[in-house]
Subunit: 160 residues, 2 copies
Amino acid sequence: MKYFEDIQVGDIVMTGRHTFDADEIKSFARRFDPQLFHLDEEAAAKSHFGALCASGWHTAAAWMRLMVDQRRAEQDAMRTRGEPVAASGPALGFNDLKWLKPVYVGDTVDYKSVVTEARLSNSRPCFGLMTILTTGVNQNGVPVISFASTTFVERRPEKM
Amino acid sequence: MKYFEDIQVGDIVMTGRHTFDADEIKSFARRFDPQLFHLDEEAAAKSHFGALCASGWHTAAAWMRLMVDQRRAEQDAMRTRGEPVAASGPALGFNDLKWLKPVYVGDTVDYKSVVTEARLSNSRPCFGLMTILTTGVNQNGVPVISFASTTFVERRPEKM
């Protein structure tokens, strides 16, 4: 993680992409969202979705996984270069989480975030707050999910 | 699902409760949120959370599962009584998703929703839009998650 002072509004983070296969869609749905259009091809074909598609929570959780992997890779690279790595605090929450279009079997969703706000934290002086807007776009260029989220990011110690 | 006309602002839905055990917390985290405080007791004890705790996405997905089960049980009961069952359309999305406090191993979260808005849909005349505010409260009465969500609900055919 970069320090708060090294993050600028407008910065873009490419988080990665994920392809949703039928087994994974059904496995997530069995556990967390057992609606027929997430579980069974034939029933899904008759639903308003028209075909088997991923739970919206699955599409969101897949982003979380990519984000953790991407942040870890960035931290490893920074440590390899001998650079200090900032701590990131917990996420405060999410806003405007929208499932814009269904994610069907075989769709690949590419997740990208843009920093929309950066400000100091009143409650935790060692941290700033970064707000990002994340969008997931499928292989046809169609946005399927979007949300805003705010996270604590450590300030550079010498700036305090 | 009740018809739109049978839903009133202020209605409360008790969705159910879920107890988070360590195996399930780790299993979700391995797949979707592999941060150490969701995976390993010792590492979690040294983190800002102080103990192993569930991914925020896990706490949200557990609600989704309870909601699907609860809605299905309600529909079965309505069919048994010979009542017509309204269709519910897809969720439009979520707003103000907040993880207020950590959910630790053994915590039981009780999810409750209140209808905060009900209005007709401009785009789909057969449906109304219902907005609910959901809160998950742990066994000590402490809110751990809250969010607002908006869903399409079918209108009673004879009212159209």
